[in-house]
Structures are given as structure tokens and as C-alpha cells.
Amino acid sequence: MSTAPHTASRPVPEAPAATVRTTGLHVRHRRTVALDSVDLDFGPGVHGLLGPNGAGKTSLIRVLATVAEPSGGRVEILGHDTRDHRRRGEVRRHLGYLPQDFGYYPGFTVREFVAYVAWLKEMPADRVPAAVERAVARVGLADRVDTKVRRLSGGMIRRVGIAQAVVNDPRVLLLDEPTAGLDPEQRVEFRELLRELGASSTVIVSTHLVEDVAAACTEVTLVDAGRVAYRGTPLALAALGESAGGPGDHPIERGYTAALRAHRAPEARAGRPSASEGAAR
């Protein structure tokens, strides 16, 4: 096993280098703490971000998308500190971001919407038409490419949002609730796309649909009350659920509740330290 480290058939043994890394990340919304000393690193692959409502998933995604400023700590994306605004443009060119909610200009067709974002992302103009076609085809809207966005259903608008996020073939893709509003068939197709994207890029998907995590993610991060409650593979989380016997209908669901309980139990005894912690800067 250890005699031939360079045979072609053998997969690369060491974990790929982290493309996204947070160190001591604090995010506060007015008085409430959204994220509390979060240390995370993500490499290429599909990472599921699970957690109850208000756990800080959206806060984390917005900070990673360089939209919101953390109140403390450090965010490194593709090796650049996002606080350095001279490097931020370089980071953002390789970023794809699907917000939880997004608007559009009333007159935009699907093609115009996606091409406009490609332009904002400073893609070379001669590559834009082809990239738009491809992104729209990837989310299955090729036959609606010239339809006005406002005439589309909620699920289709969600897919337009995914298309704008992937139009620049991002190295880091951040998706906040991408499957909300998609019907079961579309979700199956979307997971297929996720796996395809995760082969080369770092994909971070916030969701509360455990089936998505089980089917498409290579790693799960469970966030609760601004802290990381659990990290591991979907299989390990499912195994935890089986051994700890948390309530739920799906192995991952049982793992989810078990991990949450395990995370909350010691904290409940020790009291919450996060409330008293001040600003880090």
C-alpha cells in the first residue's frame, strides 16, 4: 500500500488545499451575535451548511461572498485576505453567489440578466454570449432564455439565480438556499449539477433540506447559534444518528438532531459565553 505512492490508479491521498478559510470569524447584527469565533476551511467539493433558522448560515455566506463585513476575524478566499480591497476584485472574479433573495430589473430577459451579471463580473466580452448560453442550459432554462424574468415562476427565477452564479465558472460558489422553490425533479437535476460543479470548484450550499446534503455533499458543516456544531461527511453524520438515536425520518435527519443535541448539552450546563463577548476590533 505504501510502496507505490505514485501509481496512476491511486487517488490523491492528501486533502486538497483549502480555498476558503475563516479564522476567529465574528459577525454581529446590532446587538445579536450571528457568528462567534468560527474557524472553518473548505476545499474543492460540495459542502453542505446545515442548521436551524437564524443559526448564522446566511451571515456566513454573505461574509464569504464579500458582501458583508465581519466584525472580527479573518476571511481568506483563494489565498487572499478579503479585507484587502486591492485583492478583492481578483477574489470576486472567481466568485459565484446566489443570495437568499435577489431582485432584477423589470425588463430583463433571462439572457440579459445572466449576461449583465457576467459583465459585472468583468468577464471578457467575447466570452460572455457563449458562457451565458451554457449557464442557462446547465440549469435547464435553455428554452426560456429569451423570456422576461418577471414572467417566470418562483422555481425558475431560483434557477436563473443559479445560472448567474455559475456563469463565470467560479472557483468558489456560494449558494444560499438554492433548492427553495424547486420541485423534486428539479432538485434531483440540481444535485447532479452540484456534483458536476464540485468536481473542480469549492461549492458551499446552505440548506435545510437534509436530502440535498445526503445526495450531493461531500462534507457537512452544522451551524447552531453562531457556532460550528459538527463537521464531517454525510455518512459520518448518518452513522452518528444511528448510534445516538436522535429523532427523525432520515438517517441524516437523525444525525442532525443528535449532533445538535450533543452540541447544545454541554453549553447549556456551562452557560453561553458568546453573549458577553465584545467586538474583536
Partner: protein
């Protein structure tokens, strides 16, 4: 492929269009796989009366293919697009040929396709990314939707931002047209001072409605792109100024000239207030900054007017001549504009700050 090749007689009859249809079909089938015979047929067809028309079509198809190949260079979308292109060129050649030469020259279609094939040949072996069957990639000419003249115009439109796309533009038109209509339709003689008093606020309002989470429905997406920040703000401000400056000045010039200042007298104040808003935005944010400058102007001009003893328009005239009339006032506004621009340049990094959570 099979060792059989079309005889010269067959080729000539095919080119002339007097080969029976079933024979023509089997020859066409053979031509799809036999480059040698395809070349002979296309030579024979070129010698017929249809030759010049075919040369034109061939040139057009080749130019089209080259254009597509050039557009796609370096794109990962090769497979999809070339699939599209192939369908497109093939159909175009066939229909074109049938239109041009009704009877005989359908042999040019394989020729045209084989001429086009080098462009998509090398990539045909690349596996298409797996797409579930429910996601059909319809063959459409999307890549050709923007001819080479188009993108520049499209990009200019994109730079406009939400203000010029949205309700601000009708509002500006309403002010301009309304002032002219009031003056000429309703005989309101003092329209120009009122227009001059309102005009500097118009671009400031446009800037306020151009950028930020409160103004731009796409801001959440925009904020994560490299264009976000000062560059986009300036681009959209330029669009706002390009619309409002000429429109309101023209409207002012169309109004009856009382002793109010010149119709262009508001340009420097308008520019100065706009730049001051941007400079101030580096400290307090765009919305608050525009509220301060626009509100400040309105208070300074209209505040004393409403409480004036000699009638509002008389007092407004006085205010305007002291604010806008004469070289010293205009010089002051020019200096303010320059100062604001300098401050904005110095305060540039403020626009790189991220949204405070």
C-alpha cells in the same frame, strides 16, 4: 469508405439535376462519408449555372463558422456550442441551396458541410457534460444573437443603473415637460426660476436612486462582483448626469425669459451638489449624503421663499440671482465642484468598505 466511388457520369448527372431522386439520395448518403466524391461533386456543381450562388453561400457559411470558432476560443462551452453551430450551418446551407437552385445543385449541401466540418471536427470527441434528459439544450442561434456591433450598445445600457431604468427617468421628464407645459400652456410666466430652483436636486436624487441595497434590486448580487464600489457608482452617476443636464437645460431654455438667471446657470451647482453627495457618501453612505446635499439646497433656496413677504416668486428670484447669477457665484460653485471631486478622490477607499452587518 466501401471502395465504391461515384462515376463521372453519375456526378455530372447529379450536378445537372437530372439524376432520379432515389439515385440522388443514395449518392448523397455516400457523399456524407466520402470526401473524395464530395469534392468531385462540388467541383462539378460549381461548374454549373448555380456555381456563383453556391460560392456565395459557402463563403457566408465559412465566415459564420469562423466567427463562432473565434467567439468560443477558450470557452469551456465548446461542445454545446459547436453542436448548435453544426445544426445551424447544416440547415442554413441546405435551405439556402434549395432556394437558390431549385433542381440540381443539392449536391452542394454535403460540400458545404464538409467544408464546415474542420471547425467542429476536433471537438466532436469531447464528451458533453452529462445533462439529465429533462434538460434539453434546444438548438438555437443564441451565440449569434449579438452581432459584433451589438455588445457595445448593450454594455452602455447595462451601465445605466436602476435610476435611469426606473422611476427617476419619468420623473425627470415630468419636471422638464411639466415646466414647459406650465409656461406655454397655462401661461405661467415664472416657470424658469422654479425650474432652476428644483433642477440641481434632480441629479442628486438620481444618484441616490442609483446604488445601494435600498435603491438597486440587484444590489445583493452586484455587491459580490468586482464591479461593485466606486467604479459602478461613477458610471451610474455619469448616466444620471448625461440624462438630466441636457434635458433640464433645454427645458429651461424653452421657458420664457424673465429676469431669472440663464437656463444653464444651474449646471455648475447641480454638478457640485452631485459630486459633494458622492464625497460625503464616503463618510455617511450614499442615501444620507444625498439627503443632506439635496435637502440642504432645497432649504437654502425654498426655505426663506415660503415665508417671504413680497410673494414667493419675487423672493425666489432674489435667492436665485444671489446663488446662481454672476461670475463670483458661478466661480464659487466651480470651486465647490473641484473641491468635492478632490475629496472624492481622496476618500476613494471608503467605497471599498463592505456593508456593515
Amino acid at each position: 469508405m466501401t471502395g465504391w466511388h461515384a462515376s463521372d457520369h453519375l456526378v455530372t448527372r447529379y450536378a445537372d439535376g437530372c439524376l432520379p431522386e432515389s439515385d440522388a439520395w443514395s449518392l448523397e448518403k455516400h457523399l456524407e462519408s466520402c470526401v473524395c466524391c464530395a469534392l468531385r461533386v462540388s467541383q462539378a456543381v460549381r461548374a454549373t449555372a448555380a456555381g456563383p450562388a453556391l460560392a456565395g453561400i459557402r463563403e457566408a457559411v465559412l465566415a459564420d463558422v469562423r466567427e463562432t470558432a473565434r467567439t468560443d476560443t477558450g470557452t469551456a462551452a465548446r461542445t454545446d456550442l459547436h453542436g448548435t453551430t453544426r445544426t445551424h450551418t447544416g440547415t442554413a446551407a441546405r435551405t439556402g441551396v434549395h432556394k437558390a437552385t431549385p433542381a440540381g445543385a443539392s449536391g452542394a449541401a454535403p460540400a458545404a458541410v464538409s467544408a464546415a466540418s474542420p471547425a467542429h471536427g476536433p471537438v466532436s470527441g469531447v464528451p458533453t457534460p452529462a445533462r439529465p434528459a429533462g434538460f434539453p439544450a434546444r438548438a438555437r442561434l443564441g451565440a449569434h444573437r449579438w452581432p459584433s456591433a451589438g455588445p457595445r450598445t448593450v454594455r452602455v445600457l447595462w451601465a445605466l443603473g436602476p435610476a435611469v431604468r426606473g422611476a427617476w427617468l419619468p420623473a425627470v421628464l415630468l419636471v422638464a415637460v411639466g415646466a414647459v407645459a406650465l409656461a406655454h400652456g397655462a401661461g405661467f410666466a415664472d416657470a424658469r426660476p422654479w425650474l432652476l430652483a428644483l433642477a440641481p436636486v434632480v441629479p442628486v436624487a438620481g444618484v441616490a436612486l442609483s446604488y445601494g441595497p435600498h435603491a438597486d434590486p440587484m444590489h445583493e448580487i452586484t455587491a459580490a462582483t468586482p464591479s461593485a464600489g466606486l467604479r459602478l457608482v461613477l458610471m451610474r452617476t455619469a448616466a444620471v448626469l448625461a440624462v438630466s443636464l441636457p434635458l433640464l437645460t433645454l427645458a429651461g431654455a424653452l421657458l420664457p425669459s424673465t429676469d431669472a438667471p440663464n437656463a444653464a446657470a444651474w449646471l455648475l451647482p447641480g454638478l457640485a451638489l452631485t459630486l459633494a453627495s458622492l464625497a460625503l457618501a464616503g463618510y455617511v453612505g450614499l442615501r444620507a449624503a444625498t439627503a443632506v446635499t439635496g435637502g440642504g439646497w432645497l432649504c437654502a433656496v425654498l426655505g426663506p421663499v415660503l415665508a417671504a413677504p413680497g410673494g414667493p416668486t419675487y423672493e425666489l428670484g432674489l435667492r436665485l440671482s444671489s446663488y446662481l447669477g454672476g461670475a463670483p457665484a458661478q466661480g464659487g460653485w466651480a470651486a465647490a465642484a473641484l473641491l468635492s471631486a478632490a475629496l472624492l478622490a481622496a476618500r476613494r477607499p471608503a467605497f471599498h468598505f463592505l456593508e456593515k452587518s
